[in-house]
Amino acid sequence: MATIMVKDLVKHYDNVVAVNGLNFSVESGSITALLGGNGAGKTTTIAMLLGLVLPTSGDVHIFGTDMIRNRYDVLHRMNFQSPYINIPMRLTVRQNLQTFANLYGVRDINTRIEELSREFRLSEFIERPAGQLSAGQKTRASLAKALINAPELLLLDEPTASLDPDTADWVRTKLEDYRRAHGATILLASHNMAEVERLADRVLMMNRGEVVEDGTPAALMNRYARSNLEDVFLDIVRGRRQGATPEAVA
């Protein structure tokens, strides 16, 4: 069963085409990566899934609900994390989690915060204002916020951007654990190839607002005769044909 259904999705910003006729669905319980360079349309696509950006045309259905018209019916079942959106700086981590727990209608807030505090090792800074946290601590806190309602659908925009390799690896492990424990659907936008290779069951490769490739990481590497996704990515953005060597194109 598909958690996300996107049909003929188009987004124009004045004369700029950000997303150009996207069609895809995301199966429940899967981790799907939107992979692409800067300006490929990944963040705009996620913003449209969340209802923060209105499409120029096309449909987005999440859990079978039309997100353009009825998004409040399902927002409590999803959540989002991005290093580009902060949690309030002057509130402590606990106050932040309490705020979002209440907004999302979490039943037993204290128990949920304790669970997340254990899971994400928040106890050392949970009473500290979010503005005083290090980058790694901030990521842990905002991931805890994103999981406060145990979302069935978790949307992530470059979840490990600007993190050191150790913290980034830790975040990826937590995401894998969360998917395994809850059977959640995860859609992440990234241009970190190693991250996508490790996490994703499926990759939607985007270029200039379109999905130009769709498959498992292994299938894509096989299709382009490459040993890693980074080379596949370079082939696609530089317009090389499937299976062609860079030398042949040059």
Binding site: L52, F80, N86, I87, P88, F100, L103, R107, G183
Partner: protein, 276 residues
């Protein structure tokens, strides 16, 4: 597989919970910081003292002020209700932009109307923190008790707060649409109506062509009402009815403007980028 940690709760109870959550979130910021509380009360106090001493001076030389002790102080206190009401409404909203949190708020189950409701409540809290000390000290320093004006003061207060929310909501809409580049609107919007609200002088003082514009502001009717009460000792309900009717129009218009700008921001894709 899912343990239903979040509930699919609809209706008034869920709405109340979300509104009170946002109010608590803003109240923590204000009540948890002594400098912020001081900042809220500081300017109304300075204003009240300045106008209070001027009133004392004028009372010795002008029969108008001798006959209506406290008129200037009453005017400045009510003007501060309008200013603090609007700033309390808009600054809480700006907090979300300054902390780059607006995206988190707008993708949560919190509805726009609930969000506006929470801004109204926190604006009242901030207003009381700002103005109550000035009201109290006006009595201590100048023997002027605003509450001695009786029930009409509640009508003045309600109308001014209502108008403050309408201005605040419009200013917030502009910030949603144009980003923090429009932040100065939040700080300056209220002062643009000061000359036309007839805070310290009667409506008849204005040139004839300006009077209809002034009469279209709810605040003008409140200050006219205050003067009638203090100078003639008569309460004129018709002025309050006019102010209230205008407020209904302005607030409805402001809400539509806010919703329109929110929609435009969703079309333009600026909500994710709003912030410092």
């Amino acid at each position: 597989m899912f343990s239903q940690i979040a509930i699919d709760e609809k209706g008034a109870r869920a709405s109340r919970r979300r509104v009170s959550t946002m109010v608590r979130r803003y109240a923590i910021l204000v009540l948890g910081s002594a400098p912020r509380m001081l900042e809220l009360a500081y300017w109304p106090l300075v204003q009240m003292l300045m106008w209070g001493f001027l009133q004392t001076h004028l009372a010795g030389s002008t029969s108008l002020f001798a006959n209506a002790a406290g008129l200037l102080i009453g005017s400045v206190l009510l003007w501060d209700v309008l200013v603090r009401g609007q700033l309390g409404f808009s600054l809480s909203f700006l907090e979300e932009l300054w902390s780059r949190n607006l995206g988190n708020i707008l993708m949560s189950p919190l509805r726009p109307a609930e969000y506006v409701g929470s801004l109204m409540v926190i604006s009242l809290i901030r207003l009381l923190i700002g103005v109550l000390p000035a009201i109290f000290l006006a009595y201590i320093f100048f023997g002027f008790n605003l509450f001695s004006l009786g029930l009409p003061i509640a009508a003045f207060f309600a109308n001014l707060v209502f108008f403050a929310w309408a201005i605040g909501l419009t200013a917030n809409g502009l910030v949603v649409r144009y980003g923090l580049g429009a932040e100065s609107v939040v700080w300056l919007a209220i002062f643009s109506i000061l000359p036309f609200s007839c805070v310290y002088y009667p409506l008849s003082t204005l040139p004839a062509w300006l009077q209809p514009i002034s009469a279209a502001l709810p605040s003008t009717h409140v200050f006219e009402g205050l003067r009638a009460l203090m100078l003639d000792e008569t309460f004129e309900p018709i002025l309050m009815v006019k102010a209230f009717a205008l407020n209904v129009i302005y607030f409805s218009g402001a809400y539509l403007i806010f919703r329109h700008f929110l929609k435009v921001a969703r079309i333009k894709g600026t909500l994710m980028q709003l912030g410092e």
